[in-house]
Amino acid sequence: MISDIFLTIITMVFALMVVFSKKTVVSAFALLMTMLSIAMIYFQLGTVFLAAIQVLINAGAIAVLFIFVMMLINLEQFQNNREKGKVKLVISAITILIILGVFALIINNNIEVLAVNNIADNSMLLMFDKLFHVYYLPFEMATVLLLAALVACVVITGHEKNAKVELEGDKHE
């Protein structure tokens, strides 16, 4: 029970850090830590396979790409280029409302979703049957965070409309 609360708090803190951190790379690492703590929650629920997949795909591949790209672009020049004022407030409010709505939907229509302990079974067939029917929505909720990160990447890097970026072709062929 205590570890449940602990993991939930850790996940929430890192997820909030993704959004509110001033430094882009810190955000990216917070994203990685969020993925890992979600994996820990899966792990604690006894679904080792899900935890491994979460680490392998979300933490091992997707977050690496985010961090990779953020390190490649010159970070310092994008530091203060965030949406400010009313636009930011409105967008944040809409996003939070949508997410809360989805959660309300889950809780109203399908209480069983919250009892994830049911899938603490390492039989793959049973697990995937459950995963792709009953628990599909909560499993895919993690991608909302990825979407947010993607949008953030576009916002951060997309400000120079006139700058020309010329990529050198592969001349070694």
Binding site: V48, V55, G60, A61, V64, I67
Partner: protein, 349 residues
């Protein structure tokens, strides 16, 4: 309860102790092996055959002045070597040194973390290996470390793909993802003399996996993470004394863990070496002991292969490395996977 905790603690000590204790020996073998291949002596002054040289090196690393550059990002700079070491140690938790055996009426599992999905866990945590390097390169705030880290990371992510195709093909062949099941499927002989090792069933996957672990552990011929003539030293340029030694340790432990996985899939894991199975196993402890001896011998041979390749093959150029990974190995791995899946499907019909 107390017994369970004690059991896990003993396992942790064994699992951490063996690789950490073997490290000085591996480094010694590496340096003496380099000397042997290059027709020179190698370190032979400290102790008999130079065996105490690693100890002297450790003492040197510990007492050396640590230079902490002022232009680095302090938190990430300190965290990077620790992350690299911890992530390198994690996959060891699910690698069994010997088979299960009965003791005091209980079944003893050799792994710290026992699960049917152990193999996925091992590959998942070893996929995190790129973070330590990436962090070190970025936190050092130096363009050469940055370039080294990006090169290492791109290389690891690329070769993970062909490595994964090999693993999936092997899991299809064995029909199980439990490590003990995989090893069990490789116990015994064909025609009375050829061990039932995975390498004889899937030589292509074995080759892919071998190339993959060389690239994953940043060893020659794929040691593009370092390069004296291009990027000074690579991602660990700004690190000195013990922090540098920790990166060094992490690299070797990563290599050991990947070798162990390679042996589990392709050389029968802890299944007995040909010849050892003639020894009668009347005592309950003899079989696990023989299994551990077999496994460690196989890993030792793998370590020698690493050293051998390192001093025999020239380095790749970076574009050649990427070509090999994406244009040759990945298509080869996918074709191999499809053929294997079709074969297994029609065999089971």
């Amino acid at each position: 309860m107390l017994e369970g905790i004690l059991e896990i603690l003993i396992k942790i000590v064994v699992v951490l102790g063996i690789p950490l204790g073997a490290l000085p020996i591996i480094i010694h073998v590496e340096r003496r092996g380099a000397g042997f291949i290059q027709r020179r002596l190698g370190p032979n002054r400290v102790g008999p055959f130079g065996l105490l040289q690693p100890l002297a090196d450790v003492a040197k690393f510990m007492f050396k002045e640590e230079v902490h550059p002022t232009h680095v990002r302090p938190f990430f700079y300190t965290a990077a070597p620790l992350i690299a070491l911890v992530v390198a140690l994690l996959p060891l938790a699910c690698i069994p040194l010997f088979g299960t055996f009965e003791f005091d009426g209980r079944t003893i599992y050799p792994e710290v973390f026992r699960s049917d999905m152990g193999i996925f866990y091992a590959f998942a945590v070893s996929a995190l290996g790129s973070y330590g390097i990436l962090l070190a390169g970025w936190a050092s705030n130096n363009k050469y470390t940055m370039l080294g880290a990006l090169r290492a990371c791109a290389q690891m992510v690329s070769y993970e793909l062909s490595l994964s195709t090999a693993i999936v093909a092997m899991i299809f062949v064995f029909g199980t993802n439990d490590i003990h099941g995989i090893v069990g499927a490789q116990t015994g002989y064909w025609f009375g003399f050829l061990p039932k090792w995975g390498i004889f069933v899937q030589p292509v996957a074995g080759m892919l996996f071998l190339v993959g672990i060389f690239a994953e552990s940043n060893r020659l011929p794929f040691d593009l993470a370092e390069g004296e003539s291009e990027i000074v030293a690579g991602y660990h340029l700004e690190y000195s004394s013990m922090k540098f030694a920790i990166f060094f340790m992490a690299e070797y432990i990563h290599m050991l863990a990947l070798s162990a996985l390679f042996i589990i899939f392709f050389f029968g894991g802890y299944s007995l070496l040909p010849g050892l199975d003639l020894i009668p196993t009347d005592n309950a402890f003899i079989l696990p002991l023989l299994q551990a001896v077999s496994f460690i011998t196989k890993i030792a041979i793998m370590v020698w292969v690493f050293v051998w390749v390192r001093w025999t093959l020239p380095r790749f150029r970076y574009d050649q490395l990427m070509d090999l990974g994406w244009k040759r190995l990945l298509p080869l791995g996918l074709v191999n996977l499809i053929v294997t899946v079709l074969f297994v499907y029609f065999r089971n019909q």
